[in-house]
Every structure is written in C-alpha cells, then in structure tokens.
C-alpha cells in the first residue's frame, strides 16, 4: 500500500488529513515539523507528502528544499496544505519543488482532486 506523510504542527489537522488520505487507500505517517518529517523521509520515502507551511523548528519550504536535494527525495509528490493563500507563496512553493498546493480549509473532495492531479489516483 502507498504511503502518505502528513506534516503539520496541528494535531487536529493531522487527524483530519490522515482520515481523508486513508479513505483514498493510503497508509499514513505523521510528523509535527519539517525536521521530524525529513528524518522520517530519510528512513523511508513516502509516495506523497501533505505539507504545512508554518511550523516550528523547520517550516514546510525549508523541509521541501532539503527533501528535493536528498537521495530519492525527488520521488515523493509534495502537496502543500497551508493557510498561506497569496499567489507569491504558491509560486514560491512550486519553485521549491511542490507538485500541488491546497489552501486551508480543505475537504475530502479537494484532497482527492489534488491527488488525482498529481497522478496518485
């Protein structure tokens, strides 16, 4: 079964996101910040990362840049999932290597749609 790593410092968001992703037939793991997520990825690359932007220790953009330069780090699809809604943030995320971008709040349909757009469904 394919794996999704949910990275968010909010327990509520991690819980809701993982419930949605499991409905899409993905196993889930979770991390509470970018650094923890990076360690998780280095142990085992997930198929997709659902990634918050603003987190303590290491934020989403820093994580993404590190991930994309790590061995095998180009492989996971990365979908930002954040309250940042400015076009500039979206452009920055795409430039850093994000495959898609979700603006919170989200629902099952939006997540499903983004997974389909990046070829996961």
């Amino acid at each position: 079964m394919r794996t999704c790593l949910v990275v968010d410092d909010s327990k509520v968001v991690r819980t809701v996101a993982q419930r949605i992703v499991r409905e899409l037939d993905f196993e889930t793991r979770e991390s509470i910040n970018g650094l923890e997520a990076l360690e998780s990825c280095r142990k085992s690359m997930p198929d997709v990362v659902l990634l918050d932007w603003n987190m303590p220790v290491m934020n989403g953009i820093e994580f993404l840049r590190e991930l994309r330069t790590s061995p095998g780090g180009e492989r996971p699809k990365v979908i930002f999932c954040t309250t940042e809604t400015d076009a500039k943030c979206i452009e920055e995320a795409i430039t850093a290597g994000a495959d898609e971008y979700v603006m919170k709040p989200f629902d099952t349909e939006i997540i499903r749609g983004k997974f389909a757009q990046v070829g996961l469904l």
Binding site: T85, I90, Q117
Partner: protein, 291 residues
C-alpha cells in the same frame, strides 16, 4: 407540500427546462423555492403555487425554473475528457482545419463557467503552434444568474481548488480579496449566452466540438433524445460531442456513436469512429496530466 402542488411545480419545471423532478426531491423543491417565494413577496410555498396556477409565464416561472436547476461544476471536471480533447480531438481538428485555422466550441449548460474557462486555459497552454488560430468558445445556460457569475470570472477559494492546478491558478488568476479572478484575456475568450437546450438551439450556430456534460442525466428518455438530436443538428459532420461519464446515446436514435477508447466522446459513425479512433495514442488511455 401537497402532492398536487409538487406535481404542478414539477410539470412547469419539466416543460420549461426538461428537468425531471422525482417525488423524492420534495425537500429540494421546498428548500430552493422558499427564497423565491420570499423574493416575490409571497407568504409561503402554497401562495407561490397559487400564483403559478394563475400565471404560467413571467418572472415567477423563470425564477422557479432557475432555482430548480443544478449548477454543480468544477474546473477540469473529471480530467479525462480534457485529456481526450487535448490529445485526440484537438490534433484531429487542427490537422483537418489547417485552411480555416478556426475552431468553434460550445459548452452547453455551462453553469458558472468553469468548463469553458478550463478549455480556454487548455487551448492557451498549447502555446505557439496554435497562436494564429481562432477559437470561438460559446458557453450557454438557461440560468441567467449563473451566467452573470460566469462572466465575472470570479471564484471562491473553494471553487478554484476544485480542479484548477496550482500552476495554472497563479498563471491565469489574480487574488481579489478572498476570491480569485481570471485574467481578462481568458475571460474574453469565452462568450456567454442565455440559451435553453429545449429552445431553438440553431441560433447559437454550428460547432466543431460540443461539451454537454452531466445534463442529460436530469432528463427523461424522450427529452434526452430531443436534446441529442438538436445537438447533432448543430455539430459539424466530423465534429465531436462530449457527454458526462454517466451519460450515453445508447437507446437513443442518433447517428452519434461512442468514439472507441475515448470515454464520453461521441461522433458520427462514418467519421471519427472508423477513421480516427485507431490512431488514438495509448498514452491517452492512461493519461492523467492536464496540460
């Protein structure tokens, strides 16, 4: 709601729009027509029905029919029809219309405009090869209120996230307050018109490609046949019709047949089906990429 009141409303809606309201839709009639009653200063739904009994034409009837239409849509809805348009239909049309360099596309029952705008963006993304082509995208709906929204090209955050890839969002939209608005170039690529599919659709002209998706599911068999025949009448000989995933021309007397391996695409049997279908690339069948 009394059964006879429901029957009256269902009868009016069907005769004006073709939309069939089953008895299980009583809740929908109540929830959607209560605001209409309020707008027309009628005390309740009984008063609305009494007014409809007195007068079967006019603004009240128009508002009732508009309120009962379903306006569900999203950008690049279902993905695959857009892949098929880009990878199968468009290359054929471009090669067969090299002289005119013109393509006419009709989005029938376009609701708030996401489908025609998706096509306008898709065509724009094809870049230089089609730079000197003229694309006429006509989008129609019987609901004037949704057309007004469509013309504005302004969508909520929720709406743009349903189907619009992030790269295209930042390329073709700008943020206005909490909404996102399409740039003038894409907005001007689509002409919106109020048009009832049960009316004289000949007035909209002839088309190379017609999208009429997720509309027929709301019609009974005879209305479905009537609409398909009308669409066939304005479709060019080698044109293509896209229907929704749950719709087909099966059981309908029509010359439009499914294009092999391109789900939802229909064409006259002696054109697309025999000449073109064998050339459909395998990648289309597996393709997920939008543009």
């Amino acid at each position: 709601m009394k059964p006879e009141d429901f029957d009256l409303i269902a009868g009016i809606v069907k005769s004006k729009s073709g939309l069939v309201l089953g008895k299980d839709k009583t809740y929908l009639v109540t929830s959607r027509l209560t605001p209409v009653a309020r707008k027309h200063k009628l005390a309740d739904l009984s008063a609305l029905v009494s007014a409809l009994r007195l007068r079967r034409e006019g603004e009240l009837v128009h508002d009732v029919v508009e309120a009962m239409t379903t306006n569900e849509t999203s950008f690049f809805r279902d993905l695959k029809p857009f892949d098929a348009f880009r990878d199968v239909v468009l290359p054929y049309m471009v090669s067969s219309r090299q002289k005119q360099k013109k393509l006419r596309i009709w989005c029938a029952a376009c609701s708030t405009g996401q489908e025609p705008y998706s096509l306008a963006i898709l065509l724009r993304e094809q870049g230089g090869a089609l730079a000197n082509w003229r694309f006429d995208i006509v989008a129609t709906d019987l609901n004037g209120a949704v057309l007004e929204r469509a013309r504005s090209g302004r969508y909520t955050q929720f709406e743009v996230q349903r189907g619009m890839p992030a790269k295209l969002l930042v390329k073709y939209f700008r943020k206005v307050d909490n909404d996102w608005q399409l740039n003038p170039e894409i907005r001007s690529a689509v002409t919106f018109r109020e048009q009832n599919l049960l009316g004289n659709i000949g007035a909209v002209g002839r088309f190379d490609v017609i999208f009429c998706r997720n509309v027929l599911i709301y019609f009974d068999p005879s209305t479905k046949e009537r609409v398909i025949k009308s669409l066939e009448g304005v479709l060019e000989e080698d044109g293509a019709l896209f229907l929704g995933g749950a719709e087909s021309t099966v059981g309908i007397r029509s010359n439009l047949k499914p294009v092999k391996n391109v789900r939802g695409c229909y064409a006259r049997a002696d054109n697309f089906v025999t000449q073109f279908a064998p050339a459909i690339p395998q990648r289309v069948l597996n393709s997920r990429a939008l543009v």
